[in-house]
Amino acid sequence: MARPYIPSLDLIEPAARGEIWAVARLISRAEAGQPEVREAIGEIYKRAGAAHVIGITGVPGSGKSTLVSKLVRKLLDAGERVAVVAIDPSSPYSGGSILGDRIRMSDLVLDPNVFIRSMATRGAVGGMAHAALDVVDILDLAGFDKIIIETVGVGQDEVEIAKSSHTTVVVSAPGLGDEIQAIKAGILEIADLHVVSKCDRSDANRTLTDLKMMLKDGLGGALTRGWVPPVIGTSSYDDEGFDELVDGFARHLAHLEGPAGQARREQISVFRLKKAAEALMLEMLRSDPSFEPEGKRVAARQTDPYTAASGIVKHFSTEKTHV
């Protein structure tokens, strides 16, 4: 029953052939942040880069999961292989989570061209999970053409998804009152495409109009120079608007062929680099043996927290350069 531990480097080839067990195991190890997996992630990074990464974000209850399931169906019909990374929140108390996004995607499960993975935020802010970008590379290696990251329901300033994806979709729903006013300086700025979901509802036109007006007033699009974000109404209930959405992806992808795309890719890489550095520094910090003795000196007021901290940081940036 039990089987020996397979080193992560040995999982790369089966994962690249699309063997799901190997893809899934690499993802687990990346998610756990095991140091052993880093070399493999490094190899995978060099081989990845072909997939179109689409981020989908919006307030809780805006219909993201349902929209994703409809969208995946359209992409499959167009002959694409699609992976979905569905992120749900971890409990701030126990650290555990209930990951329920799959429930709304259940009719896709048995399609061999679909891979769905649930991730918990595990304390990460910004609507993303720490390892989400490593996971994207692994799925890229496994040959998925479109990789959809569905964030947790987010509010105003969770904009990390825009620094992680090629195309960012912000989903708004009608009937949430003055929501657009409330978030106009927040996530609406990051949208490459706007979706108003639940357009079978009678008050959807109001939301569509509000959004279009807001964009006309120039309030959208700090990250989207040279691109006017379209506003697309969808109804998962009536299965409407999804062709337009898929077409929007194609047009945005074409837009990214130009200089805008180069800038976007560099922006994503800088963000990743920062994330990776952050993770390493945190890990080194946590395991640094000088905390206890320095802490005692701080407690005795022989030194102050800033001086002691900068001493520790200097010390590990010169001495511990290993991964």
Binding site: M1, A2, R3, Y5, E19, I20, W21, A24, R25, I27, S28, E31, A32, G33, S90, S91, Y93, S94, G95, G96, S97, I98, L99, G100, R102, I103, S106, V109, L110, F115, I116, R117, S118, A120, R122
Partner: protein
Amino acid sequence: MSAPIRVLLAKVGLDGHDRGVKVVARTLRDAGMDVVYTGLHRTPEEVVTAAVQEDVDVLGVSLLSGVQMTVFPKIFALLEQHKVGDMIVIAGGVMPDEDVEELKKMGVAEVLLQDTPPQQIINTLTSLVEARGAR
């Protein structure tokens, strides 16, 4: 910092009673585990595919409809097919003693019947995953 234990909880077939499995899901979440719940009326194929993609440590199948002796052999065959014969499988719900014995012979790691206290569920999963070791 070790990663949370990942669990997939599933209801298979024509069994609409999911209050129990939801209580278990919450119990495990509160014990710090990541719990994937797939909803009602799933087929063994759907459940195993989801468990493989999610790469869970433990696959928990809740059954209150008496079909355990047909469902579990299918699940084990499918796990083998997906090259994950090492996944820990747990049965939960209401089933006769003689079935419990048969299920364990089949490879079910533990059968947690209707009166199992929450803490015992947590302990069972934790020690099974510990015994398996790193993967």
